[in-house]
Homo-oligomer: 575 residues x 2
């Protein structure tokens, strides 16, 4: 039986659902409606278009075979009707019609449906400060804005930029401006760290350092209070609680909110924060209305709680599952794991599952293993250190999350993706110890970093290893008198350790090389708590086991070792 | 209670077990015995040492903190006794002693044990042809051989090399010789394809083409029958069934066998092919004797059958699990998935689980989805095509294996590793559709390639897509009269399709562009079986669905499209 399907929103979830549905039910009448003229684009590619990495905006709207996905394409190639510049203004659920407005003519019209799909996406959160409406202030709301930003830069009109918001889009935009165009760029983030709620603070801090090394000024824990105009009414700066930053371009990227007014006004169940509630079939509280993409409330497969995950990849997967259900192929969209990755200059940062901080807040008996292994065989020429953390629940041994910071390549992606598959399946630490990563020296270590971090978690969980939290170590470094009984036991090579012994004195910083520990352990004074230090933490654990065996059980290992500290406190670290 | 542990073999599994056990039971007396003088080395790194990528052999024996793992290191840093140049010659299980011979002195001695660990590794399979003992003929049996090979090359003594054996080591050695040293290199493989029993023939064929593009002559389906000597008794060539190849260096890499004589003579249970049988605790048929590494028979987590997986990464994981069990931490080593990856010049080839061919042989109702997606967002500058195949069981929908061929980066590694975790957990096609890969344009597509290949598998498994096997397509290309009713329906851009129409004529090769199919389908003649062709296979599937809907249900899709064919038959393909 032929059905009439109306889809509101034609960026990611909408077109995906439309195309899949048309393939499954070629007889059905499918109409895509969007208020914009540009549709079906890769929004996540906007920073790379602004940077110039992607040379033309049409590439973001093109298929892999270089055909632009416009109205004509959907109509002719896919058999899907498209109505752009058409805004859905209300839903009459009784009569099953969507009221739309033709934006060009102002005319209103009714579109009847058998099934309605809401793929209304998200809108940038509006910053409630003066000046946001000034010329030169942009959100990354759609392709038009991106085109305008790039035009201004390319015309040489931008010397100084301020990005407000330290999430993924803000950081990617800052890189685009600084790296490719040489614009003096500052980034302001209200929270004390970048990528708040996404990664734990040490990872955010390493990222911040790297941005600063690349010339982006980063101000965290600082709120923009006003956007300033010059005499001509154009933007000229941003005022924060601490300073005034010059700017002829301001990008506001302080997060997005689900676009769910239509759903709410139609009386559908909508979360207080705006996400349209759907079941695992992507069905809203009205069985004839489905929803997918950035407008829905998702469920975390880790915590089981409602969460918000506006991502193009999820929108596509949801759109497909939605179409399957409509077409009669029962398909569950089980929820989101929280997989996230981004490039930042020469580094990559990624996570899946939940952070340590989030795990504590959720009430888990959470702990974490922090490591700094090489990203491939340590003897292979282009190997480099990756910082990898595994968050777990001590009670159930379930892995709750994995996050990493490393060089800009796909190596971290391999570990995070693998972790995502395992976490979604409810894997324990032991499942991570077991996972069989493909091994050859150009790609990995004989003991893969994901296995290795699980081994550390096992040792922690079983009480074979005791670690010192990074923040406590850093506080002690700042003021050693705060913990008068602590002693750094530096087990690295003397060439690495001695400069610190010189700096802090043998009373505070004792160097006993790892290989000599079994013959020199008596040099360790009684009554001190040893903070065992090496580069990666691995040798430190061995030394801790050895000291425990001697009855000296008052030591702590700095997990991940000085490889982590050197990325957090580059000025302190002696190369 | 203090225990005496003797470990025979000190390359990978042995040292790993020793070190972990010493950390868990610091009081135990642990002795590593090895017939060689060089121990604890990364054998998988040998080709990279020969190539010069790894500058000194000691790097293969060094820790990540640059200390060489020799006898002294194990004794002083780890508290483990090491006896090198000591060969275990027999086990007296009644008295629990190992009889050893000191190779320097010829003296024999007894080492008593409470628990014995066999980590005797593997030995190269000896080629049963004349000339294998000649000067200049090498196996990759240990580091000494590698040192000697590199010395000869560095001295300029090698102009022509023949590698016998097209497995991973043979291919890696061929690359090392050709790429880094410019040695004219040929590779001879008895089986009709490279990497036999590891990947399916199309993947092996793409690899072969790439080796040939890089100047390695590859002869598959050809057996070396004799190694030839010159007047001075040095190697000068290799004779095969088809030709004689010049060679001043011959590397024989025709696989390895478990070194299990010691176990067999002691009456332990050993597989007919030589693998020492162990349970999931890594315990042999004698409860006081354990075994791990290249000498054991493993269990496939896919088929449940005995298999052989000699790999440094597995040896390490087995060694650790073994130590846990001995120390009282019950740990199961559940088996091997078959994860495999290798670099070959600018390409990478990888697999996990079992191949399509192996799945058929195992009696599965096997099928495969073959795709050729971009390895990251198709609009991102450095994206490239990856060939990705998913093998599944039609009856249970279980995924049995995934294999890929792509550019030399870690992108394929991410998909294979993720697949390995899922396959080991018994995942279905739908679990692969669901896995949440971390997405950002520099790393992946909004629809990740691993999700996409699962989507294709779903469509195949549910009968929504019918594909043509590559071998049947290639046979038809060779001789179109063999299938007189077939018609290529080329739906690519006319610039791509027209040269083929010119070559084969409109009767055999019809070009109807994808975007115009809905208005031009009537150009397709009746009574023909359409072979629908595009670059990646995706558009072809859409067109098949459309034609089915019109009642033209006699079409077949070429899975993976011409992206695959162009890598298999570069001479045929028109760029």
């Amino acid at each position: 039986m032929e059905k009439k399907i109306v889809i509101v929103g034609a960026v990611a979830a909408g077109p995906k659902a439309a195309c899949r549905l048309k393939r499954l039910q070629p007889d059905w009448d499918i109409t895509l409606v969007d208020q914009d003229s540009l549709i079906s684009y890769g929004g996540c590619g906007i920073p790379y278009y602004v940077s110039g990495d992607v040379s033309d905006e049409s590439e973001l709207r093109a298929t892999s075979f270089h055909v632009v996905r416009d109205e004509k394409f959907f109509q002719e190639a896919k058999g899907i009707k498209v109505q752009t510049r058409t805004r859905a203004i209300s839903i009459d659920r009784q009569r099953k019609v969507v009221q739309v407005e033709r934006l060009e003519s102002g005319q209103e019209e009714e579109l009847p449906y058998d099934k309605l799909i809401l793929a209304t996406g998200a809108k940038p959160f509006a910053l409630p400060i003066p000046g946001v409406e000034l010329d030169g202030v942009f959100t990354i709301a759609n392709l038009h804005k991106a085109i305008e930003i790039r035009k201004r830069i390319a015309q040489g009109k931008v010397s100084n930029a301020v990005v407000i918001g330290g999430g993924a889009i803000g950081i990617e935009m800052a890189e685009a401006l600084k790296d490719l165009w040489g614009v003096e760029t500052s980034l302001v983030e209200l929270e004390p760290q970048l990528l708040p709620c996404i990664v734990d603070w040490p990872f955010a801090a390493m990222l911040k350092n790297h941005l600063q090394e690349n010339g982006v000024q980063v101000f965290t824990g600082e709120s923009a209070t006003e956007i300033l105009a010059n005499a001509e009414g154009k933007v000229c700066g941003v005022k924060t609680g601490m300073r005034t930053l010059e700017a002829d371009l301001v990008i506001v990227a302080v997060g997005v909110r689900p676009r769910s007014e239509l759903a709410r006004e139609a009386g559908l169940s909508v979360a207080p924060w705006g996400g349209i509630r759907v079941n695992q079939r992507l069905q809203t509280s009205d069985p004839d209305i489905y929803a997918a993409g950035d407008c829905v409330a998702s469920t975390s497969v880790v915590t089981g709680r409602e969460t918000y995950a506006p991502l193009g990849s999820l929108a596509n997967r949801e759109g497909r599952a939605l179409a399957d259900n409509l077409a009669g192929i029962p398909t569950r969209f089980k929820g989101v794991c929280g997989s996230f990755i981004m490039k930042a200059f020469e580094r990559c940062i990624a996570t899946t599952g939940i952070s340590y901080e989030a795990a504590l807040a959720e009430g888990y008996d959470a702990d974490y293993a922090l490591t700094s292994p090489p990203d491939r065989a340590h003897f292979f020429p282009n190997q480099s250190v990756v910082i990898l953390q595994l968050v777990f629940d001590r009670r159930t041994r379930r892995v709750l999350g994995v996050q990493g910071f490393g060089m800009m390549n796909d190596s971290l992606s391999a570990r995070i993706d693998t972790a995502a598959g395992l976490i979604a399946a409810g894997a324990t630490i032991e499942d991570f110890s077991d996972v069989e990563m493909a091994y050859a020296p150009p790609f990995s270590s004989a003991i893969d970093s994901i296995n290795a971090v699980a081994y550390v978690a096992e040792n922690l969980c079983d009480g074979r290893m005791r670690q010192l939290d990074l923040d406590r170590f850093l506080a002690w470094m700042e003021d050693m008198s705060s913990q008068p009984d602590w002693l750094a036991l530096d087990i690295r090579h003397p060439l690495e350790a001695e400069p610190y012994v010189e700096r802090y004195g043998r009373e505070k910083w004792l160097a006993v090389q790892y290989e000599q520990m079994r013959e020199r352990y008596q040099e360790i004074p009684e009554g001190k708590t040893c903070i065992i230090l090496c580069n990666a933490g691995t040798r430190s654990y061995e030394v801790q086991v050895f000291l425990d065996h001697l009855g000296k059980s008052d030591s702590m290992v700095l997990g991940g070792g000085l490889n982590v500290v050197s990325r957090l406190e580059p000025d302190w670290y002696i190369k």
